[in-house]
């Protein structure tokens, strides 16, 4: 190129560059600019694919979700050591790269404007809550509860806690309250969801041991869901069902045509609370037809003959009359179970929240036992848990059993626990704790004067809410410890303690399939909010029992003690070295004893823990004789039946996958709020709507003997005539519910009360 040509080209390039700048300045069409920049996605590192440039991470870390018991692994996108975004963890063995909307939005509620940032105290009964410092709050906490204890005794203060905090925190709370502060009565909101499964398993298997692993969803050829709507309530478990390659028969027992019932191959829309009769009728048909595994029954169970004798009363005629099913439907149900080679049974709140729920859960267990559908891939009598750490609560909360599934009246257990925790044996109360409803009754009767509520919203969620809230007024001192001072319960507190939330602390959660997962501290708690763990440390110190808890210095230190507590128990986790091992393995299912780990040694010196393990593969149960029990009882009618004055039966349950319980957290996310109906609504059958002359979307008044509410009518044949359905997330629902309880598990029966409907 000649020099002059070069100069010419440079000139031309300069001219073009100038034109380009000019064109951008007065762009006819602006393809880029500051607004376009806002949404630019950049190639992500860390195997993430493209991510929003403004939320680009400089590292990632994995932790488990803190909403439900599925226990999904979330990949937290970190920048400068803090969480900026998240996505579902591709390799976590639970969720395989997926998450439900709550998981995706898990970080959002942490930044809600109504987070508690200081303790709040109510100077007098009618005064509003006022900010105070931790010093004053702690002194007040101890003074008031000590005063009550001094004048009314150790049974006069109780706590109600949660399945939403870490195992280490639950253990700390239970031990602090009983061993350190010397109180007796405490319970948790797991009473509202999992108490039934706990009792049913304990009685049938000898230990509270859900036997399954999520791979069973994929390995069954028949799946029976009783009172469960996993499509909405556990979408990521349903993901595993959808991955089942065996074209399985999916049977759903539910009075409503739920999303899960729509997706099923067979739906049995029985009358509400006729499930026990149905299950006994099925047992009778299976036995009479010889469709049972006699060898398994003989080798591994006790009480079958009595059970077989008992269920002969459940003739097809009786079962059909009471459930509303046709004889051929009942027959098809039994035949499908009989034809299945790997049949798994799954239940959730439709069973657990019933007036005879323990026996109902055990009737499901009985079906699995008698057909030999347990301990093999794709089988099991499987309770799907509710809350993210209901399992941790069941094992380590030191509420109903002595910590770690021990017995407070067994001398060896007392000695073991006192030695490991370094406490005197005599501080372990022998007296069993009262259940939730008994604590509420105790307050009503003036026996309980002080209440400490931790991370639960009883004023919304407890059955027959109006009564509960009136009873709360009788307390001398109510302390609420929560992320938000705005919950219905915190609004009634005399003292509010601001708690850090999931993602703002370390610890472990145990999911439905017994997998211990890790949560990490990836977000700074606002203001002076402290993790429940730190709050318990402070209370121990201020109460004057700090010495007893000197070793409870960090969540991981507590985890090491819990490992020791679990030694030689069915839930032995002595093989889990530390948090890092949990992290590296994508969570670890219990049990994992030291012996189990040495059995998993790899040639390189490491250990490879199988990522999915189920219980009872050897047919050996946790009872003293190793045999499972058949337990049964004559069904009873639900205590409140529809009648002339209140002719409809009210069903309650999960509304959408974007709502969690009382909405204290899910209500804080704009996205989740968009994904559920804002106002309370009621599902009503078109026939009933016509009979009552209720227009679609009209506002109706629904009342029971206990209270009333207004709701928008959603007219749909998915509920049967004579029944209505209202989601449980709306605070007004429990104004209506009838306080009935299962006599074994003390779990409330939320899904059956009589109501009437009128145009509003």
């Amino acid at each position: 190129m000649s020099p002059s040509a070069k100069v010419r080209e440079e000139k031309r390039n300069g001219l073009f560059a100038g034109l380009e700048t000019l064109r951008e300045a007065v762009a006819i069409r602006a393809w880029k600019g500051p607004l376009t920049e806002e949404l630019v996605r950049n190639p992500g590192k860390f195997g993430l694919g493209q991510v929003p440039a403004r939320l680009e991470p400089d590292s990632t870390t994995t932790m488990v979700c803190g909403f439900c018991s599925t226990g999904c692994g979330l990949n937290i996108h970190m920048r400068d050591g803090q969480a900026v975004n998240l996505s579902a963890d591709t390799t976590y063995p639970v969720n395989l790269g997926m998450a439900c909307p709550k998981g995706w939005e898990a970080l959002t509620p942490l930044s809600a404007p109504d987070r508690g940032t200081t303790p709040l105290v109510r100077p007098s009964r009618d005064a509003p809550l006022q900010a105070c410092d931790w010093e004053r709050a702690l002194v007040l906490f101890c003074e008031r509860f000590k005063e009550i204890r001094a004048s009314h005794g150790p049974e006069s203060v109780a706590f109600l806690s949660t399945g939403q905090v870490t195992t280490e925190e639950m253990a700390f709370l239970g031990c602090l309250f009983k061993f350190g502060m010397g109180f007796v009565h405490c319970d948790s909101n797991t009473r509202q969801c999992m108490a039934t499964s706990h009792v049913a398993y304990k009685e049938s298997f000898g230990f509270d041991a859900p036997p399954f692993t999520y791979a069973d969803f994929e390995q069954s050829d028949v799946l029976v869901f009783v009172g469960a709507n996993p499509c909405l309530a556990h979408p990521i478990m349903w993901q595993r069902v959808m991955r089942n390659p065996n074209k399985p028969e999916i049977l759903v027992v539910d009075p409503r045509t739920t999303e899960t019932a729509m997706a099923a191959t067979q739906h049995y829309a029985i009358r509400p609370k006729s499930d026990l009769v149905l299950l006994y009728g099925l047992a009778n048909l299976l036995i009479a037809s010889g469709w049972i595994e006699r060898d398994f029954i003989k080798a591994h169970t006790l009480g079958f003959e009595e059970f077989a004798q008992f269920v002969t009363r459940f003739t097809t005629d009786r079962v059909c009359a009471e459930t509303g099913l046709r004889p051929e439907e009942l027959w098809q149900f039994a035949k499908t179970i009989a034809d299945g080679r790997r049949v798994s049974f799954w239940w959730t709140m439709g069973v657990n929240q019933g007036h005879e729920s323990t026996r109902t859960a055990q009737a499901i267990i009985n079906l699995a036992l008698m057909t030999g559908n347990i301990g093999r891939p794709g089988t099991g009598a499987n309770s799907i848990t509710g809350q993210c750490n209901a399992m941790g609560s069941r094992l380590f909360a030191n509420i109903t059993s002595l910590i770690g599934g021990h017995d407070a009246n067994d001398e060896a257990d007392r000695a073991k626990v006192s030695k490991i925790l370094g406490i005197r044996e005599d501080v372990i109360p022998r007296q069993p704790s009262m259940a939730y409803d008994q604590i509420v009754q105790g307050i009503a009767e003036g026996k309980i004067k002080g209440l400490w509520v931790i991370a639960t919203n009883s004023s919304h969620s407890w059955i027959h809410q109006g009564d509960f809230n009136r009873i709360l007024d009788r307390l001398d001192f109510l302390v609420v410890q929560d992320m938000y001072p705005t919950t219905e319960t915190a609004q009634r507190a005399d003292l509010y303690l601001p708690a850090a939330g999931w993602g703002e602390k370390e610890g472990t959660l145990i999911n439905s399939e017994r997998r211990i997962g890790l949560v990490k501290k990836v977000h700074r708690a606002p203001g002076q909010a402290l993790s429940d763990f730190h709050i318990f440390q402070l209370i121990a110190h201020y109460w004057g029992c700090g010495g007893m808890f000197a070793r409870w210095s960090s969540p991981e230190a507590v985890f090491r003690m819990l490992k020791e507590v679990s030694r030689e128990m069915p839930n032995d986790i002595t093989g889990v070295h530390d948090y890092r091992m949990l992290d590296e393995n994508g969570g670890i299912q219990w049990p994992l004893s030291e012996a189990d780990v040495s059995g998993c040694q790899t040639p390189g010196g490491g250990s490879q823990i199988p990522s999915e393990r189920r219980l009872f593969e050897d047919g050996c149960f946790f009872t003293a004789d190793g045999k499972a029990r058949f337990l049964f009882e004559e069904p009873r009618k639900a205590p409140e039946q529809p009648d002339e004055n209140f002719p409809f039966l009210l069903l309650t349950g999960r509304g959408t996958s974007s709502q969690w319980h009382t909405n204290t957290r899910t209500g804080k996310s704009d996205v989740l709020r968009k994904l559920y109906p804002k106002e309370c609504y009621v599902e009503i059958n078109p026939k009933d709507a016509e009979g009552l002359q209720i227009q679609r979307n009209a506002v109706v008044r629904i009342s029971s003997r206990r209270g009333e509410l207004r709701a928008t009518a959603f007219v749909t044949p998915t509920v049967q005539p004579g029944q209505i359905f209202i989601p449980m997330h709306y605070p007004e629902v429990n104004r209506l519910t009838f306080p009935a309880f299962d006599s074994y598990s003390r779990q409330p029966s939320y899904k059956a009360c009589a109501v009437k409907i009128e145009a509003a």
Binding site: R41, G49, Q50, S87, P101, M262, K521, T656, P677
Partner: protein, 539 residues
């Protein structure tokens, strides 16, 4: 050290500890080396292995049989695209069967349908939408957008969403750069049941299938309008009478107050020019006496209306690009027509002040009137072109031209009557000529409106039924208020005709106020009670 100090120290120590986050290095960092997106193992079958060929484009394909309504797609799209807190580009609705004994539920996930003939793109005055010729993806150019929000009215699927913080709309771009890099869009990556995929569709086939009456799914808008490309697939039969869960829900749409003001004032202005032009055509009138101030009133009203219109724009500084959309956008045409109207109005007004007796003045008046009518026509077409039943061409034309006559003539009459009072001139006969037909028109319009509304309210199959129910249920005060205002307007007009001097001027002024107020209510319901088509919503 005292024990108090110790205790304070423990609180401080734990507060400090609370703020120390878990160092990432404490745990395994398994992702560190991964270069390829780890999720690819789940979605590689859910995106096409090749780019669209000739006559093809990308499209969302939804397998309804496996969608359970978990809504993970909505939140994943939100998080992986870094949207604003309340912003979502995907939504999940529900359709239900209405047969009493056959329960049917189907959740429907939906985002932008990347239509063959995108209404958003056609309506955009500044070409802020681009349909990529290779991929078919309809992309929104955020920096080009002026925030007029017309696309939110044009799209029958409620896809573009306006952000008041940014002053623009934004929408799904099918994660276009993810697709370009061989990655799946966020929603495809996140669906636990693999219900959403990206497929190549044949443009000719989509076009042929989008016959009048065809719809994507029960409750969706007629596909022939925009030819949406999303494919909803189900092996189950969707019951014929299935309807969206929100089919009977009534909601008020955005009122768009700047547009209400703009429409009323611009139509009033057009009507003012038209009125004085008509009066001028009458023999023996005293046009020269009042034409200049009345025309000025028209000019001021028009400019006030235009000022209100700019308030409606999120980013008015980009509005100069309006000419880009003239080929397809009624919004562009409206801006042009309003510009011409403003020019003609200015000229006419100027001529009446400077050369009141020149033929130029009359010519200017005729020009301004014609331009005014044209401008109102473009306004009518803006709404008619959205294909919303409540905004249909005849309904909107009667409303807008009705406003033009009512407000224009009443405003002109008001101005004339006060001119008469101040200049002690008798304009009563001319005033009567303006007022008597006006009372007739007002009565006719009101009767027509009442009659058509009650027809629509009575008949559930009437396309405007839901809008009228919305007015009846959610704006129950509106019709009574308008009846009162109508009676006041007619009464005061009669007083104005019967009386003279200041009484007459006050009468016609009150009539103007009442009519204007009534028109505000009318236009408020025009915007808020319109049934905006959208994909099936939730309960």
């Amino acid at each position: 050290m005292s024990s108090i100090a110790l205790e304070v120290n423990l609180i401080d120590e734990l507060l400090a500890e609370q703020q120390r986050l878990t160092p990432v290095e404490r745990f395994a960092q398994r992702h560190e080396r991964a270069a390829l997106p780890a999720q690819a193992r789940y979605y590689s079958d859910l995106i096409p292995s090749s780019k669209p060929g000739l006559g093809q484009q990308y499209a969302f394909a939804v397998d309804l049989d496996v969608c359970t309504g978990c809504k993970a797609c909505v939140s994943a799209c939100h998080s992986l695209n870094g949207l604003e807190e309340h912003e979502t580009w995907r939504d999940v609705g529900l359709i239900t069967g209405t047969e009493t004994d056959k329960p049917y539920l189907q959740t429907v996930t939906t985002a932008c349908h990347h239509c063959l003939e995108p209404a958003c793109l056609e309506g955009c005055p500044v070409l802020a939408y681009d349909k990529n010729p290779e991929t078919g993806i309809v992309r929104h150019l955020d920096d080009q957008c002026i925030g007029c929000q017309y696309c939110t009215m044009k799209c029958p699927y409620d896809v573009p969403k306006y952000s008041s913080r940014l002053g623009i709309v934004r929408k799904c771009d099918m994660c276009t750069d993810r697709l370009a890099a061989g990655e799946a869009p966020a929603c495809v990556q996140a669906c636990p049941h693999e219900a959403i995929a990206i497929r190549l569709v044949d443009v000719a086939e989509v076009s042929a299938a989008a016959l009048p009456g065809a719809q994507l799914i029960s409750g969706a808008f007629d596909s022939s309008y925009t030819k949406p490309t999303t494919q909803y697939v189900s092996k189950k039969r969707i019951p014929r009478n299935a309807e969206p869960a929100d089919a009977h829900a009534l909601r008020l749409e955005h009122a768009h107050w700047p547009l209400i003001i703009m429409l009323l004032l611009s139509q009033m202005a057009a009507g003012i020019y038209l009125t004085i032009a008509a009066m001028g055509a009458l023999p023996g009138g005293s046009l020269q006496l009042y034409a200049a101030p009345v025309a000025t009133l028209g000019f001021l009203a028009l400019n006030a209306g235009l000022a209100a219109a700019t308030l409606h724009l999120g980013r008015p500084l980009g509005a100069w690009r309006f000419f880009l959309g003239l080929r397809t956008s009624w919004m562009s045409r409206e801006i042009l027509a309003f510009g011409l109207f403003a020019g003609a109005a200015f000229a006419a007004t100027l001529f009446f002040w400077v050369l009141p007796r020149s033929p130029l003045a009359l010519a200017g008046l005729v020009g301004a009137s014609a331009m005014g009518l044209l401008a109102v026509f473009t306004s009518v077409m803006i709404y008619a072109d959205t294909r919303r039943a409540f905004w249909s061409l005849p309904l909107t034309a009667v409303r807008f031209y009705g406003t033009t006559i009512l407000l224009g003539a009443t405003a002109a009459a008001t101005a004339m009557s006060w001119i008469g009072v101040f200049f002690a001139t008798d304009l009563a006969s001319e005033l009567r000529i303006a007022m008597i037909p006006l009372i007739g028109v007002q009565t006719l319009l009101f009767a027509w409106e009442f009659w058509s509304n009650s027809q629509a309210l009575r008949d559930p199959s009437n396309p405007c039924h839901r809008s009228l129910r919305t007015i009846r249920v959610l704006l129950p005060w509106l019709m009574s208020a308008r009846v009162v205002l109508f009676v006041v307007a007619i009464f005061c007009s009669l007083v104005a005709i019967a009386a003279s001097g200041p009484i007459s001027a006050i009468g016609v002024s009150v009539a103007l106020a009442a009519t204007f107020a009534s028109q505000i209510f009318e236009r408020f319901s025009f915007f808020t009670a319109v049934t905006a088509p959208r994909m099936p919503g939730g309960i």
